[in-house]
């Protein structure tokens, strides 16, 4: 196996008596696009929060690029090369599209207050570099012409792309996408698929949490399936698709829905 980017070891998260994630382990190799799927309530989102550091693990460990990240706060994870997007797009209203992408660069250019104010030429040069890098990212997602638009003026599909541009700006080692296709129409989903394919070809490691099973089967090299907090499958898409445990988990849910 190639170099491991992310290693999740027995990650567990309890909410009171409820075990949302129960001793889940998996690994993501360098350059691999890994999908995380499961029926509603499977613990995907909680798992995602544990990796990004939004919530602490109750037990288990998270390793990133060989370093133990288990107790690192969320803001310490992004400078290390972990970037994420949000299911409910969380961009900054009132700021422009370009400014939002520039914010993605914050950890790299994190500078002291004094330097920000008195840096002189060096500061001006960094300022220009930040702007240029953000513009490059917008160009990559095909939104360069909307750089000065305000966030409020964009469609949901465009916002997801802005969010991806923001996450990519830092040149992350791992890009984590939380339900990137949720709420998108078919054309927007296709566009997103093309974008992810391009990133995959560039060798970017990715973790996708997704509801849309067809979308994720096409976009990923490997799929981890969760059901009621535990991992029930971890394999290539073709085999996961025919895995009886996975089928029954999904059909079980459909049956439950039908019974309602």
């Amino acid at each position: 196996m190639t170099e491991t980017i992310l290693k999740v070891e027995g990650a567990t998260r309890r909410f009171g008596g409820l075990v949302a994630v129960n001793a889940v382990s998996f690994e993501i190799g360098k350059g691999m696009a890994c999908g995380l799927i499961g029926p509603n309530g499977a613990g995907k989102s909680t798992m995602f929060d544990l990796i990004t550091g939004v919530r602490p693990v109750s037990a288990g460990d998270i390793w990133f690029k060989g370093q133990r990240m288990t107790n690192a706060p969320a803001h310490a994870r992004s400078p290390m090369g972990m970037a994420r997007t949000f299911q409910i797009v969380r961009l900054f209203r009132g700021l422009s599209v370009l400014e939002n992408v520039m914010l993605g660069l914050h950890p790299r250019f994190a500078d002291g207050i004094i330097r920000a104010l008195l840096g002189g030429k060096a500061r001006a040069a960094q300022e220009t570099a930040t702007r240029a890098r953000a513009m490059e990212m917008l160009d990559f997602v095909g939104l360069a012409d909307r750089a000065d638009a305000r966030i409020e003026e964009m469609t949901l599909g465009q916002l997801r792309l802005v969010d991806i541009a923001r996450a990519l700006a830092l040149g992350p080692d791992l890009l984590m996408l939380d339900e990137p296709a949720a709420g998108l129409n078919d054309a927007e989903t296709d566009n997103l698929g093309v974008m992810l394919e391009r990133l995959r070809k560039q060798g970017l490691s990715m973790l996708l949490v997704e509801h849309d099973v067809d979308f994720i089967m096409n976009a990923c090299d490997r799929i981890v399936v969760m059901d009621r907090g535990t991992k029930i499958a971890d394999d290539v898409p073709a085999r996961v698709r025919t895995d009886p445990k996975v089928i029954s988990a999904y059909i079980g849910q459909r049956a439950a829905h039908a019974a309602h």
């Binding site: 992004s78 969380r90 400014e99 914010l103 914050h106 960094q126």
Partner: protein
């Protein structure tokens, strides 16, 4: 006739500049922390009173005194941040609770000032000359002009900081959503700390400059906080520039109402006016983006 108009105009602009700078300070802190800092006027008081200490008592040259005044204001701001804001916010206090905390800080600062300087009004030595300068019918002096220039200077500096630096971008982002800002590696506590320091600096300088005209008295802080808050509400708390403009408006109204009416009714009349403005525009004369952010 013209003399009176000129006098009132200049007095209004000068006081308005100070109200505006306090409004700007309040707005910057509100933007990053959602807290109204009731101790803001105390920074102005500290500016004026430490100016007395450094310029008159210790007779230091003014550039040295200016730096020391700034240092005192910033140290007081750090005290407010570490003594009130952080302990409360880390215990998950609501902004309203923290506001009461800043009120407590204002009382403490006032108490310490009482011990140091006593209750009587002090003469604050002006850095610039108070000798009259005449431009046509306008009568002014160098100190007044310097205050008005400082007002616009701080407006430009604040604009540059917020809109032309990455640090300013992170200040604005924190104002929109501190939680998401944190996920992007922006530590909102540091941003809040900076806003306390910056606004204490602005207010301290305002105190240093307005002291010679208002006179230095340890009780001046609360009134100035109220004026600055009125400025921010009138202009729009969501934008430092709107808040600053509100300050100028209040300064001018106050001067003209006192000059052409009676000073007895100046305050209530301004309050009525602000009330009317707020009925028509609940987010202030110039502020509306604050509304859509919610």
């Amino acid at each position: 006739m013209m003399m009176k108009l000129s006098y009132l105009l200049l007095a209004g602009l000068t006081n308005g500049s100070v109200y505006g700078l306090i409004g700007l300070s309040l707005s910057i802190i509100y933007g990053s922390s959602r807290v109204i800092n009731f101790a803001q006027g105390e920074f102005v008081m500290l500016g004026a009173m430490t100016a007395v200490m450094f310029l008159a008592t210790l007779a230091l040259p003014w550039p040295v005194a200016l730096v020391l005044v700034a240092v005192v204001a910033i140290v007081a701001a750090l005290g407010l941040d570490h003594g009130v804001y952080r302990p409360l916010v880390r215990r998950k206090a609501e902004p309203l609770t923290i506001m009461i905390g800043t009120l407590a800080a204002a009382i403490i600062i006032y108490g310490i000032a009482l011990l140091v300087w006593g209750p009587e009004q002090k003469f604050v030595p002006p850095i610039l000359s108070l000798a009259p300068i005449r431009f046509g019918f306008l009568m002014t002096n160098a100190q007044q002009l310097a205050i008005i220039a400082m007002f616009f200077g701080f407006l430009v500096a604040t604009w540059f900081l917020l809109y032309r630096t990455r640090f300013g971008l992170s200040i604005r982002a924190t104002g929109v959503n501190p939680r998401v800002a944190l996920l992007m590696g922006i530590r909102s506590e540091r941003i809040v700390q900076f806003s306390f320091m910056y606004s204490a600096f602005v207010s301290g300088m305002a105190g240093l400059m307005i002291g010679p005209l208002l006179g230095g008295q340890i009780g001046m802080g609360l009134l100035l906080t109220v004026k600055g808050f009125m400025a921010a509400i009138l202009g729009g708390l969501g934008s430092p520039f709107a808040a600053a403009a509100g300050g100028l408006a209040i300064g001018l109204m106050e001067a003209f109402m006192a000059g052409y009416g009676t000073s007895l009714y100046a305050e209530p009349a301004i309050f009525v006016l602000i009330l009317l403005v707020l009925i028509v525009r609940p987010y202030g004369l110039l502020g509306d983006y604050e509304a859509e952010r919610r």
